[in-house]
């Protein structure tokens, strides 16, 4: 533990606490993108939309931007438009028109306008980070009766100045009757954080071949620290084992700096195994045997290179209780691994209002005797996912591939054919003991409640025949509730698999 803390301290000390200061791009800088935030672009006139779209690729001209902001306000008289220009690392400039609804004239009937503003506070950012003009305008509210409309405009300007923050406003009593204090509160948006918490997964699944199972994570905590109890009941949706049990994960994503985070996870699961797995294992004595209990402790440290790119490292200490069968665990009971992972996440809304989300991760797990592991193996897994969304249409393209070298315990072996992969196939029919090689690809189209999908992939063991399987299907998806019918394609056995349940999935892949 001391060594671990020392590593954490060394990494913390090596992190530069200063963040790059953004400077205003000069006139003439090439504009890389121009967007409208806080207002649906399609509600502007086609001519104005075109003008905004044409800004991309042109030299920065602030007067032109002011003219366009004025045109937005002229077309939408109940809105105000502010301009935000940011410098990109490649020397280009990003332009965002931040549009917000103005206080309705009828909302001027706020009785608190009779009180004098004693003090204005801006919380969540340092005073020095606020533009001098904006700071002066905020200070100008002091000593006068509350001007609700002006306060609304300043809130909009703060939103434009800090696009990575949620801005809210409230008034509280001042130090003496007749006076009030005005408070602007800024809170960092989740997407602008350097590190994300571990993606939360919770599901309850029915698979017509595999039955019911559920896995629930219940996060509790604030913006920097989170504790997540997790519960599994007869879960078969990700592994070859059917496991039940519980666990607890602690995460901190600001260890001195927002770039450095830590997670500690402990889980205790009991296993049940399917008949097909027992039979297949009897025919493959080289595959490590089964166990009845799996206890794991996983400490990890994460470091964000950029808000999109992070690396993680740690260890996983797993103890397996051998199952009392004719085929005992040949390798012993400890399956300890070192873990290294790199993850990338990118989310953007383009000027046309379309959302683009990219998630990718590569994870390496290595079990060696130096970690007192009874299993000597490496497991590499790469995953990537792209989601495009626009006006109710969503297209998801995802792929993953993995390789295991050496003898990995059963919970590490790859499996396909459940409610997420090769939908229509049953993993206990096609690979009841999984494999040490795997690839899988999915294309999915969703329009509002309806979805259609096509999956393809293969799981096999090195030195054996590789059979690529495919399936297609359709279903309904209403928020977290889904109902799918998957049909295997390249088989003579014409059948369908029905899947339904609840699924909540946080962004990103699990890091290990």
């Amino acid at each position: 533990m001391k060594t671990f803390l020392l590593i954490v301290a060394m990494i913390a000390a090596s992190v530069a606490p200063a963040f790059a200061q953004q400077t205003d791009p000069p006139e003439g800088t090439r504009i890389s993108s121009a967007q409208v935030s806080g207002f649906e672009l399609g509600k502007l006139s086609p001519g104005l939309q075109e003008q905004i779209g044409k800004l991309t690729g042109t030299p920065l001209n602030r007067q032109e931007l002011r003219d366009l902001a004025a045109r937005i306000e002229a077309e939408q008289p109940r809105h105000v438009a502010a301009i935000r220009v940011t410098a990109d690392p490649d020397g280009t400039a990003r332009v965002v028109f931040v549009v917000a609804r103005m206080r309705d004239p009828e909302q001027q009937g706020n009785i608190n306008t009779k009180y004098v503003v004693e003090e204005v506070r801006v919380r969540g950012v340092s005073q020095s980070a606020i533009d001098m003009q904006l700071r002066d305008d905020i200070t100008a509210l002091v000593g006068k009766p509350l001007d609700a409309e002006q306060a609304e405009k300043l809130e909009t300007r703060l939103r434009a100045a800090f696009p990575d923050y949620e801005v809210s406003r409230r008034s509280v009593r001042g130090s003496e009757p007749g006076k009030i204090n005005l408070i602007f509160e800024l809170q960092r948006k989740e997407r602008s954080r350097w590190l994300r918490f571990e993606p939360i997964e919770a599901n309850g699944t029915y698979h017509s071949d595999q039955g019911w199972g559920s896995y629930v994570e219940m996060p509790i905590g604030g913006r920097n620290i989170r504790v997540t109890p997790l519960f599994a009941i007869d879960t078969t949706d990700d592994l070859l084992e059917e496991y039940s049990g519980l666990g607890l994960r602690f995460e901190a994503r600001k260890l001195g700096t927002e770039r450095l985070g830590l997670s500690l996870e402990g889980t205790w699961f009991n296993q049940n195994w399917r008949e097909q797995t027992f039979f297949a294992l009897a025919l493959n004595p080289t595959v490590p045997g089964l166990y009845s209990e799996r206890s794991t402790f996983t400490p990890m440290v994460s470091f964000a290179i950029t808000p999109q790119l992070r690396i993680s490292g740690g260890v996983s200490i797993a103890e397996l209780e051998p199952l009392e069968t004719l085929i005992p665990l040949p390798h012993g009971t400890m399956a300890n691994v070192a873990i290294g992972s790199i993850g990338y996440n990118f989310k953007q809304r383009d000027s046309g209002g379309a959302r683009h989300t990219v998630d990718a991760a590569f994870t390496l797990r290595a079990g060696t005797s130096s970690l007192e592991s009874d299993y000597d193996y490496t497991r590499s897994l790469g995953q990537a996912e792209y989601l495009f969304g626009h006006k109710g249409h969503n297209v998801l393209v995802s792929g993953m591939g993995g390789v295991i070298n050496g003898d990995a315990p059963m919970f590490e072996r790859f499996a396909l054919g459940d409610a997420r992969t090769l939908r229509g196939w049953d993993k206990f029919q096609i690979s009841p003991i999984g494999g040490n090689r795997m690839f899988h690809a999915t294309v999915e189209y969703r329009f509002k409640w309806v979805q259609a999908f096509a999956d393809t992939g293969s799981v096999w063991s090195d030195g054996t025949e590789r059979k690529v399987r495919a399936s297609a299907g359709f279903g309904l998806l209403a928020g977290p509730v889904y109902m799918n019918l998957g049909i295997p394609l390249n088989t003579d056995d014409l059948r369908a698999v029905f899947m339904m349940g609840l699924r909540f999935k946080g962004p990103g892949f699990k890091k290990y």
Binding site: G38, F39, R78, V99, A100, R101, M102, D104, E106, Q107, Q108, G109, N110, I111, N112, Y115, L146, A148, R169, R170, S171, V172, R173, P177, G178, I180, E190, R191, I200, E201, A202, E217, P219, R349, L477, G479, P480, R503, F504, K505, G506, P507
Partner: protein, 191 residues
């Protein structure tokens, strides 16, 4: 052997309590000059997110509609819609209401219940607009409120199919921009 009367008495007491509660919250309609006005103590809107916003010293706009129906769920025969601006006096700890008009009216130093009642009192449906309803036959009323918040409507959301989204949605007070509610009551006759 002496038997307890409680099991037989309990439903009666429960029914009396229930009817008293319903009676206290019932919608009543009365005539005020040439208009019909409504009292609906259970039709509350100063609560939840709007109340939190008011207590933050901000104002809330509410649109109220009173519609007259020939029967439950039927098309409207007459309706009146009015907009009000509510605010909460931070020092007096009382509510204020302003009605843009015409004619413009306002009232201050009100409790939440009194502020709601004041708003309903401004919703007056002319009896002439109701035709024969109320005299020759009964009518029903439909009360609706819509609380608007331009800020909430303009902010993008990250989708509700994530667990975090669901937790946020359940734990966060509902956005004022999404708040609408309606009740129907009847039958009534004009006395």
């Amino acid at each position: 052997m002496r038997r307890s009367h409680l099991p037989r008495v309990a439903p009666l007491v429960l029914a009396l309590l229930l009817s008293a509660t319903i009676g206290a919250q019932a919608v009543t309609v009365r005539r005020s000059g040439d208009n019909v006005i409504v009292r609906a103590p259970a039709f509350t809107f100063i609560k939840g997110e709007p109340l939190a916003r008011l207590k933050d010293g901000r104002s809330v706009r509410i649109d109220l509609t009173l519609a007259i129906l020939p029967k439950e769920g039927a098309a409207r025969v007459a309706e009146v819609q009015q907009s009000f601006v509510l605010s909460y006096d931070l020092w007096e700890e009382r509510f204020a209401v302003a009605h843009a008009g015409p004619p413009p009216r306002s009232s201050a130093y009100l409790t939440a219940t009194a502020a709601e009642a004041w708003c309903l009192d401004q919703l007056m449906v002319p009896i002439t607009a109701m035709g024969s309803l109320g005299k020759d036959g009964p009518f029903w009323i439909r009360l609706e409120y819509r609380i608007q918040d331009g800020d909430a409507a303009s902010r993008p959301s990250d989708g509700a199919d994530t667990l975090q989204g669901m937790i946020d949605a359940l734990s966060r007070r509902r956005k004022a921009g999404e708040l609408t509610h309606a009740i129907e009551a009847g039958p009534f006759r004009i006395q």
